[in-house]
Symmetry: C2
Subunit: 270 residues, 2 copies
DNA sequence: CAACTGCGTTATGCTGCATAACGTAACACC
DNA sequence: GGTGTTACGTTATGCAGCATAACGCAGTTG
């Protein structure tokens, strides 16, 4: 999260137009509001937020917050955008910690990061990929959609890498439907730079990776896998990723289940 | 949904102790409250409910509702239990519409029902398997857990059937971790009657089916697959189920993707 | 130093949850 | 068939949170 330490970079500020003192103070306050909101959400274990609580935590009164956010939805939108970015960062960093030559290892790292992030911050995960928050109506085609695309691209690039290196075998799930083939050939959701397309089977397999990964992650994050021991959850998670990788035609990684440390391996990135 | 038509069955009432007039009226009112709450949730597309709105819809005043539900959480809990039951019913009915000799067909039907139910009633789906509702704290070990077990059992029985008929091949995902094996051998979450256990590989595969299915279902129900055309979503769904079935060692069903009617096939069960 | 701008405050209105206090109609029993 | 009892629904009340309005203060700017 972008905290109030903007001053440090500004001392030798040459490139950017050097925000005024006021602007810096304002940015810091905005950051503090968001941090406080997240902290309260985390403490209370919910996704709802009370302006009065946030203000009190900050030693202010509630109406003051309206100087920074038009209303509750506005704050929520900002939190959602941040969450997307943060998740995307966590995933990208995890991916980059594994050498490019090991695509299934990368898929594993990415999946692990996704899972770990969601488990560490279930509220933020819920904000972006869970139930739309009760009173909240997302701004149409707004910044949230844009942020979602950025996050999605991370996964895609992994498969491009594997493709480039000839490491993609024959995907297990064949018989790609014509409709999915269409999507594979003109990707509407990806950014601009990579107008490249994946083979339809790989595209389908990639989506399947995400779907399966998301299924486990959301079930776990919301406490619906509590009937399993932590070790069993780890094992189930690994088996799922392994299956998805296999189905995508990625070379199988060596079994990792021995260490049993799958759940807490990722050192965290936020 | 248990509606207000209790009277019809009571005319020839022989078995049950024939509830008094008052009790019937009360039950009818409770049912009406729940129905109204669901309708409003559906209309507003959220999972929050306002006592005042419900009461107004029913031509009453808000405080009257407290005669039937202690508070908002109490009503929510009732809705959650109902939703579990309803989903379990839908799944069971779908399963029973396919002959026992066709386990992968049954898995497909079950998955389809799960998906269709969630898409038809995303709010109720969110209630039971989504983010815990903001202000809501589930009663510990209460009726919701119990209801969840009942729903889960549906899936399990399908695999027992297949097992009994010798239709279970070798599951694709081997290497079952010891921790999962433990769970397979003494199922803590299942009901009472079926103390039977599944082979660990099958147990793991069953969980994987659920995880994968749930991933697709929740993503779709909450609108996160909107970037795909409906046909592409259908295709992705089928591919996922097929893969999960394959991984579980179920005999492959004949390809269904030709009809393209996967999304709207299920005639509905609520 | 005087006008401006932005920030934070108190004051106010509205809505929803929840309880209290009260009336009323159906039921139950002799 | 009256009479106490019970369940139901009402109006009245208190409280919390969102959001706006009106005001005061301080740092900024010419």
């Amino acid at each position: 999260m972008s905290s109030a330490s903007t001053e440090a970079t500004a001392t030798h500020g040459t490139a950017q137009p050097m925000p005024s003192r006021r602007e810096r103070a304002r940015a810091a306050t905005i950051a503090e509001i968001k941090e406080t909101a997240l902290r309260l959400m985390h403490e209370h274990g919910t996704t709802d937020l009370r302006f009065s609580d946030i203000a009190r935590e900050m030693g202010m009164t509630a109406p003051a917050l309206y100087r920074y956010f038009a209303d509750g939805d506005d704050l929520l939108t900002a939190l959602i955008v941040d969450a997307y970015d943060d998740l995307a960062d966590a995933v990208r960093e995890a991916r980059d910690r594994v050498p490019e030559g090991d695509p299934s290892g990368r898929l594993f790292a990415v999946s692990q990061a996704y899972r770990t992030w969601a488990r560490r911050e279930p509220q933020r995960f819920a904000l972006i990929l869970g139930t739309p928050v009760p009173g909240y109506a997302a701004p149409e085609e707004g910044p949230t959609t844009e942020a979602a695309r950025r996050a999605m691209t991370q996964l895609k690039s992994l498969f491009f890498d594997a493709l480039d290196r000839g490491l993609l075998g024959e995907p297990l799930i064949g018989d790609v439907d014509e409709s999915l083939r269409q999507h594979a050939e003109n990707p509407q959701y990806s950014g601009r730079a990579d107008e490249r397309t994946l083979p339809p089977e790989t595209f389908q397999a990639m989506l399947n990776c995400w779907v399966s990964l998301h299924g486990f992650t959301s079930l776990e994050a919301y406490g619906h896998l509590e009937f399993l021991s932590p070790e069993a959850r780890d094992a189930l998670f690994e088996a799922g990723v392994r299956l998805a990788a296999m189905a995508a035609g990625l070379p199988l990684p060596r079994a990792r289940s021995e260490s049993g440390s799958a759940g807490s391996a990722d050192p965290g990135t936020t």
